[in-house]
Each structure stands twice: as structure tokens, then as C-alpha cells.
């Protein structure tokens, strides 16, 4: 069981953080704190500012306003700050004409690891990630999943105090995802703080202590995972696969419906506590061949987001 970290000094604090891009995109006025061992999730639909916020926290971008302090040091260019950060950005960028091991060796040395230590840790991480047999292969021959695993290896090798990971499970197989969750849980127990930008609600629920919801670059809600889930406790999510467009407004007008949204051919509906899914079908009465599939499941963090914004988080394909 992880210790309560609320009273511990923060590893990272951000105040009024803003990074504006042309076209109105970016993040605006974000304030957050990260304690040792805490796992924080940044969640929101595409374009909500997760990646921008993660880049700011990772020193890869400069804020237009606001301040970030890492280990009580507000200078993002200070090598002593960056040495304690492990970063996996959204693009798995590598030197393509070098092997996976050569890439990881280079990055390990940039973080000050001596030869012997780098070799020990890289050997262990390459075995753990399943890249051992491909270590002498050129990165240009790697699949996307392999490149992302290599990114993870490079982010972990110097045992950072804060891990900042952008969609870490993207393109990973289920086995690799489970291994990653286990490793991050272990690291968290030993005091490593983790920030995950993700839309994977299952990953967030399994791993995160605290979640920040972003929408249009703004922090719209934050809280501990159980606290957020309690907001939708007792309600149900109904997913209807429809053959042709339906009038969402008539669904939203129902007292039993807390939120409704369409994503592709799927209608997501959050039903209030005690409501019966049959009430939804009754509204669609007379259009029986409209619905090709219906699923009812317990609500998750994605439903909290849907309830807050009326926008569904993108589906994560497994």
C-alpha cells in the first residue's frame, strides 16, 4: 500500500501555466502539484492540451506565462533538473541509422551513466521490454511499438525522480502494457512520481492516484480517482451502435440521461442512478432497425469526462 503523499514536499509545482499557440490552441492557467510516488493522469480528447502540458513539464517547451518548479528549481535548462526527469514524448524519435542498443547507450550516457552501470541497466531493460533480440537491429527497421518500447527504456535507464510519459501504452501489445503497469506501480512505491498523458481510462484507473481533465487547454476538473468515480457511481453507460443519425437532443431531454454524445457510429449515454436503459430505447421507438448493437457497462473515468463536457474521450483500441 502506498503511503499518503499529500503532506510530502512536491517534486514539481506548476502555477498559472500557459502556453498559447496560434489558432487558440495550447494550455491556459494550469496549476498542479506532484508529490513523490504520486501517479498523475492528464486526460482529455485530442487537442485538449495534454501533450503541450506534458512537454512543458518535461522542459521540452517554454511556457508563455506561469511558472514551473522542479525539485525547487525553476530553471528548465539546468542540467541538474533534466537529469532527474525521464521523458517519453509522443513522437518516438531516434537516430534511425543506429541500432536500438546504440541509441539507448547514447541517451544513457547523456544522463551521466558510466559504462558498466549503463550496460547493466540497459541489459535488464532490454530484456524486460522484449527488445533484447532486436537490440542490434537498426531503429529504422523497428515497428512503432518497438520504437515506443525503446523510448520507455531510454526514459527509465537513469532512474529518474519524475517520469513524464505521453500515451505510454500506445502501440504496445497487451502483455507489454501489463508489464509497464507493473513496473510503474513498483517505481511509484519507491518514490518515483509519474505523469501520464493518456486517454486509456483503464490504464488511468489502474495506475493513477490523481487525474486532471483537460478540455480546450483548460483544467476543467481534477481529483483522486475514487473521488471522481464516485460522481458517476450507480449510473450506467449505455453504448448504442446506430445505423443512421439520431436526434441527440431528444435523448438529452430525458431526465434519466445525464449526458449523451456521438462518436462515429456509437452513441454514448450516461444514465442517472437507478434509470433503466429501456427508457432510452423507448425514445427511439419506431426506429427499431436503427440500433444494431447495445452495451451497458459500469461507468469509468471516460464517463466522468463525458458528464462534465458532453465530449467523449477517444476510444483506445486494444
Amino acid at each position: 500500500m502506498k503511503a499518503d503523499t499529500a503532506s510530502e514536499p512536491s517534486l514539481l509545482t506548476a502555477t498559472g501555466l500557459t502556453r498559447a499557440y496560434r489558432g487558440g490552441k495550447g494550455v491556459f492557467d494550469i496549476t498542479l502539484k506532484l508529490a513523490p510516488g504520486e501517479v498523475m493522469g492528464l486526460m482529455g480528447p485530442n487537442g485538449s492540451g495534454k501533450t503541450t502540458l506534458l512537454r512543458l513539464l518535461a522542459t521540452a517547451a517554454t511556457p508563455s506565462a506561469g511558472q514551473i518548479s522542479w525539485f525547487r528549481n525553476a530553471n528548465p535548462h539546468d542540467p541538474s533538473v533534466r537529469r532527474r526527469l525521464g521523458v517519453m514524448l509522443d513522437q518516438p524519435a531516434h537516430f534511425d541509422k543506429m541500432t536500438g542498443y546504440q541509441n539507448a547507450w547514447f541517451f544513457a550516457h547523456q544522463f551521466g551513466l558510466a559504462d558498466e552501470l549503463a550496460r547493466d541497466r540497459l541489459d535488464e531493460l532490454f530484456r524486460w521490454s522484449g527488445l533484447w533480440d532486436a537490440r542490434e537491429q537498426l531503429v529504422s527497421e523497428y515497428s512503432l511499438g518497438m520504437k515506443r518500447k525503446l523510448n520507455l527504456v531510454e526514459a527509465l535507464v537513469h532512474r529518474p525522480s519524475i517520469l513524464l510519459l505521453d500515451e505510454p501504452t500506445l502501440a504496445l501489445d497487451y502483455r507489454a502494457e501489463l508489464d509497464l503497469i507493473e513496473r510503474l506501480q513498483l517505481l511509484s512505491l519507491t518514490g518515483t512520481a509519474v505523469v501520464l498523458a493518456t486517454n486509456d481510462v483503464h490504464l488511468a484507473e489502474r495506475l493513477c492516484d490523481y487525474v486532471i481533465f483537460l478540455h480546450d487547454g483548460r483544467l476543467i476538473r481534477e481529483g483522486h480517482v475514487p473521488q471522481l468515480l464516485a460522481e458517476v457511481a450507480g449510473s450506467k453507460e449505455v453504448q448504442l451502435q446506430v445505423n443512421s443519425p439520431i436526434a441527440l437532443e431528444s435523448l438529452r431531454a430525458l431526465a434519466a440521461v445525464e449526458a449523451a454524445n456521438v462518436e462515429g457510429d456509437t452513441v454514448h449515454i450516461i444514465l442517472a442512478r437507478g434509470a433503466n436503459p429501456a427508457q432510452v430505447l423507448a425514445v427511439l421507438n419506431g426506429t427499431a432497425d436503427l440500433v444494431s448493437n447495445m452495451r451497458v457497462r459500469r461507468p469509468n473515468l471516460g464517463d466522468v469526462f463525458l458528464k462534465l463536457t458532453g465530449v467523449a474521450l477517444p476510444a483506445v483500441h486494444r
Binding site: P79, A93, K97, M98, Y101, W105, F106, A108, Q110
Partner: protein
């Protein structure tokens, strides 16, 4: 083979790309052999000055543009290395590789005109200075566009007038233009090539040596200062 530092990595990647290595080394010789053996010193010096300036400017510009596009530049920002140091290591290694590339031509000049040995140190230094400045120009140009082709265009737009102002294409007699030419590294390379090829330079060997050295040190300093501008511009 494993590389732990930025310069080692540059050399390793260069050595691993064998076909590119062969082409890179053969390319200057294709121009250099007929020029050094048969062309009048003035024409040989003009062409070789242009060739060396272009080799310096194109290499780093194209590589850095590709890295910006692939997301590697963003990764550099998360490394515990100051951008100035990172750029100095990268560009000086790139300039060193370029120097290796033009070295056979320089050796050929030495073999063909052994009596001009007093110009050799000046030639080596001014070549190194032009290559480093060329790399820096390419690096700065790489921040202007995501397209390697466009970056080449920006480099040429700046490089060609500078070569003219340096007195590479025409002999400058106007005092003001002459003074301007002395502020450009290409003029020292041009003069040292003229000297080493047995032509009639306007400067003495030691003056050219001093100019080449000054520009080499200046370019290194400027590279360090421009690190953040080049590697951390959004």
C-alpha cells in the same frame, strides 16, 4: 561500436553509412582533381572556395531539418546538456567530417604546389573556419523551415551574396568593398587557396592565417551562443 557522447555519435553514424561516406569523400575530388591540375589558380580558387562553403552549409542544415521534423530536436531539449554545448559538439564534429571530406583536395594542392608550403597552415585554418561557419549558417537556416529543400534555398540566398562581397567572384578595388570583404571568412579562404595554388593573393600568408584563426574562434563562440536559438526555437 557504441557512442556515449554527441561527437562520438556523429562520427559513428557517419562511419556506419558506407555508401554516403564513399560519395561524400569522392564528390570533392571529382571537382578538385581537374581544378588543381589543369585550371588557372584564380578559377580553381573561386570554385574551391564555393565548393567548401557549400559543403559546410548544406550538411548541417539538411540534417538538423530532418531531426526537427522527426522530433529528435524536441528530445534534445530534455537532455541534461546545455544547448550551446550540444550545438558546438554537433557542428564542430560535422565541420570535422566536412574537413575530412575536403582533405584529399587540400593534400592534392600541397602535392601539386609544394613550394607554396607557407600557405598551408592558413589554408587549413581558413578552410576549418569556413566549414564551421557554413555549418552554423545551415543550422540557423534549419530553424526557418521544416523542408530540407527550402532550407537549402535560404542558405544559397545568403551564401551567394556573401561570396560576392568577399571578393571571390571579382577582384574588389573599391576601399569600402575591400574592407567589407575582410569581414567575411570566405575572403581568407579564397586568398589562402590562391596562395597555395601559386596564384597572386592580395594578402600575406600570416595575415590570412590570422584571419582564418579569428573566424574559427569567433564561429565557435557564436555557435555556443546560438545553441538555444537553433535547438530550442518553437
Amino acid at each position: 561500436m557504441l557512442a556515449g557522447t554527441i561527437w562520438q555519435r556523429e562520427l559513428l553514424e557517419f562511419a556506419q553509412r558506407r555508401r554516403a561516406l564513399a560519395i561524400k569523400l569522392a564528390f570533392p575530388l571529382v571537382f578538385g582533381i581537374p581544378l588543381v591540375i589543369a585550371a588557372p589558380p584564380l578559377y580553381a580558387a573561386i570554385t574551391l572556395t564555393m565548393l567548401i562553403a557549400i559543403i559546410g552549409a548544406l550538411g548541417a542544415g539538411a540534417v538538423l531539418t530532418r531531426e526537427r521534423e522527426s522530433g529528435l530536436t524536441l528530445r534534445y531539449r530534455t537532455l541534461p546538456v546545455t544547448p550551446g554545448r550540444l550545438l558546438i559538439e554537433r557542428l564542430s564534429t560535422s565541420a570535422l567530417i566536412d574537413l575530412l571530406q575536403v582533405a584529399p583536395v587540400l593534400v592534392l594542392i600541397g602535392l601539386r604546389h609544394p613550394s607554396q608550403f607557407s600557405w598551408w597552415p592558413a589554408l587549413a585554418l581558413s578552410t576549418a573556419a569556413v566549414l564551421l561557419i557554413g555549418n552554423l549558417m545551415g543550422a540557423v537556416a534549419s530553424t526557418l523551415s521544416d523542408s530540407p529543400g527550402e532550407v537549402m534555398l535560404y542558405v544559397f540566398i545568403v551564401l551567394l551574396p556573401l561570396l560576392f562581397l568577399a571578393g571571390v567572384f571579382t577582384s574588389l578595388t573599391e576601399p569600402a568593398l575591400l574592407a567589407v570583404s575582410r569581414l567575411l571568412p570566405f575572403s581568407y579562404l579564397h586568398e589562402s587557396l590562391l596562395g597555395a595554388l601559386g596564384g597572386q593573393p592580395n594578402l600575406l600568408a600570416w595575415e590570412t592565417l590570422l584571419g582564418g584563426f579569428g573566424f574559427l574562434v569567433g564561429a565557435a563562440g557564436l555557435t555556443g551562443r546560438l545553441g538555444r536559438r537553433v535547438l530550442e526555437s518553437d
